[in-house]
């Protein structure tokens, strides 16, 4: 059993390394090829293919991106990696608050909808509609509203929550309502109350789905936070870093790429933490 497990892990690690190498090969290969043909490829059927997107300006070497982490972003300043670490922590803390806000709201909505078909039919369309409005349009308004009621600090978490509550509502609702009729009848035959059915049957039944939603929400909350930081004028997070490195892109393309790497690492870290929590909490019914 343990031997099978460890060999399985080895396989996974092997595939991960292989994929990574493939990406590096593709990335650097495309660059080397484009350089060799001087960034213009003559097509056999006439015309040329513009390959300038693969030059160092548009697509820096992976080595240069890696090196930019240890080089200072500012003369005599700390290395970019340290700045990005601080920015990541700042962004992550807003994302966590937004994730909790969105998670709680989404779960409460799911419970309400699970118990009232009327409310579900009446309100669910609006919940769905809310997700069709681009977050970019809503973010500046949330910032202005929050500032007006002196809760500026909540603006970014609310924007993050806006992206995160939806998957939780949809998945949790599904989990809460998809209990087997047999189990439901058994609970009722014991004269269980609604609350007892909710806590002893529905929620345990919904947990795997809820965690699926939370994993989606974890990454979405990081995206929402970064988007929210822009109209909030927050300079300390990843949003501010992306904005500045974008504006001064010509002056150091690897820095923007490094910031993108940092942002994705934050999302993956958050995802990993939620996945770990899932392993600890949902010990039954794990789809494997």
């Amino acid at each position: 059993m343990t031997q099978a497990r460890s060999s399985e892990k080895l396989q996974t690690a092997f595939i991960v390394v292989l994929l990574l190498l493939a990406v590096v090969g593709l990335w650097e290969g495309a660059k080397a090829f484009s350089r060799a043909v001087n960034y213009a490829l003559d097509l056999p059927w006439g015309g040329t293919l513009d390959l300038r997107n693969f030059n160092n300006q548009q697509l820096p070497h992976l080595g240069d991106i890696a090196r930019s982490f240890v080089e200072p972003a500012q003369r005599n300043g700390p290395p970019l990696g340290l700045i990005l670490l601080n920015a990541s922590l700042f962004t992550l803390s807003s994302a966590v608050i937004g994730f909790v806000l969105g998670g709680v709201l989404g779960f409460l909505l799911a419970i309400i909808f699970a118990h009232s078909r009327l409310l579900q039919r009446g309100l669910l369309p609006y919940v769905v509609a809310s997700q069709t409005i681009p977050i970019l349009a809503i973010a500046p308004m949330v910032v202005v509203w929050m500032r007006q009621i002196n809760l500026t600090g909540l603006a970014v978490p609310i924007i993050a929550a806006y992206l995160t509550f939806f998957p939780v509502t949809v998945y949790a609702l599904r989990g809460l309502t998809s209990v087997s009729p047999l189990q439901l009848e058994l609970m009722r035959s014991y004269a269980a109350t609604r609350w007892q059915i909710l806590f002893k049957l529905r929620i345990p039944n919904a947990l795997p789905q809820i965690f699926t939603a939370l994993k989606i929400s974890a990454t979405a909350s990081v995206v929402g936070t970064i988007i929210g930081e822009l109209p909030s004028g927050i300079q300390s997070g990843l949003g501010g870093a992306i904005l500045n490195f974008n504006q001064y892109y010509v002056q150091g393309p690897p820095r923007l790429w490094a910031t993108i790497v940092a942002a994705s690492l934050v999302g993956m870290l958050f995802f990993g933490v939620v996945a770990l929590a899932e392993r600890l909490i949902v010990r039954w019914n794990r789809p494997e």
């Binding site: 970019l136 109209p231 004028g233 490195f245």
Partner: protein
């Protein structure tokens, strides 16, 4: 017992947390919404805060950096800030849409927007742009150039006359020579061209000799840029005119400080933005000073001729649908601030008539 101790601790904690508030209580809190992210363009305000000028006026000023989705007019109209920084064209447009914005001080006396071309292209005047691919920024920033083109008999809407290219806020298209000319602020994009490092590490690739600078100020089609505005209704409330004068006094002193202590001001900006390049911000500070100094009428005073020029271009290009009303600008507050400053600080120069810019060394990538 446990609970009592906890309560005591909480009490002590709250008292400690509130202690700094007590001393700052007599300061009036106000907010300033910048037009863009923290950079030397706004150094004077950061200097006024760092030097304690705002505090001396009894103000606790919070400086709110801007960003791509932040309209200072909207923020001020919604009460998210008392003061805002904007350019005259968009301020007048927002006023027409009902934001009740009023300009109370004109910080930049001249415009920093230029059209640049490569020296080897031979394009040296706006008239030369006929038949070229010309980069402009959208969002109302294109009109000073359009006015210059029209003045030279070129119709920006006629593709036979000129090809207008909507350029993003970086200089890549110009550096790649995909466009013949590009819009550039002296304090930002122009430096980015000079700071460019080639793929093989060559630097400098371009110097000022390599580019022609077409100046909209000289062409007479520039529009006024950074100014301070407030909301009309807010200003009408009792005591707020005095508050505005105090804010202007401290801000003006901040800009004087940045003229005389450039290095300090660059440092104040860098402290607020750890991702900004030192060389680039030093260049920017120097260029910003050039836009402010000399202030022939005194710091912050509005030149009505330039205002008229700005309003005319705005009207001509339908940025606004009617000439702005009298209330769009207030000259008296900045005048009162300047007058009282001259009385209080007779040794300080608020005009900068003998101001001389320094030569800033271009650094690779603006580092």
């Amino acid at each position: 017992m446990q609970i009592k101790r906890l309560a005591l601790m909480v009490g002590a904690f709250v008292a400690l947390a509130l202690a700094p508030l007590a001393s700052a209580q007599d300061l009036v809190p106000v907010r300033l919404q910048l037009k863009w992210v923290t950079q030397a363009q706004f150094a004077g305000f950061y200097a006024a805060a760092a030097q304690g000028y705002y505090e001396e006026e009894g103000l606790a000023v919070e400086i709110l950096p801007g960003g791509p989705d932040i309209g200072p007019q909207q923020v001020v109209a919604a009460g998210g800030a008392e003061f805002g920084i904007d350019w005259m064209g968009s301020m007048l447009a927002s006023r027409e849409q009902g934001t009740k914005a009023v300009a109370i001080a004109q910080i930049f006396q001249r415009s920093g927007m230029r059209q640049i071309t490569w020296a080897d292209s031979g394009l040296e005047t706006f008239a030369d742009l006929r038949g070229t691919v010309t980069g402009v920024w959208g969002f109302g920033n294109q009109y000073p150039l359009f006015a210059a083109l029209v003045k030279n008999g070129i119709d920006p809407d006629n593709p036979d006359d000129i090809t207008i290219f909507n350029q993003p806020f970086d200089m890549v298209a110009f550096l790649n020579r995909e466009i013949d000319s590009a819009a550039a602020m002296t304090y930002n994009e122009m430096a980015q061209v000079l700071e460019f490092v080639a793929e093989d590490g060559t630097f400098p690739v371009y110097t000022l000799e390599d580019i022609n600078i077409l100046d909209l100020n000289e062409e007479g089609t520039a529009m006024l840029e950074d100014l301070i505005f407030v909301n009309e209704d807010w200003l009408a409330q009792e005591g707020n005119e005095e508050l505005a004068i105090k804010f202007l006094r401290a801000s003006f002193r901040g800009w004087v400080y940045c003229r005389d202590n450039m290095e300090d001001c660059v440092q104040y900006v860098l402290e607020q933005g750890s991702t900004l390049g030192v060389g680039h911000q030093t260049w920017m500070m120097n260029e910003i000073n050039k836009l402010i100094w000399p202030s022939e009428k005194g710091i912050g005073q509005l030149d009505m001729d330039l205002y008229q020029q700005t309003a005319d271009i705005a009207l001509n290009y339908k940025v606004i649908s009617a000439a702005p009303d009298e209330g769009a600008v207030r000259l008296d507050l900045a005048a009162a601030a300047l007058e009282s400053l001259q009385a209080d600080f007779p040794d300080v120069d608020f005009f900068g008539l003998d101001y001389e810019p320094i030569e800033v060394a271009i650094t690779p990538n603006g580092e």
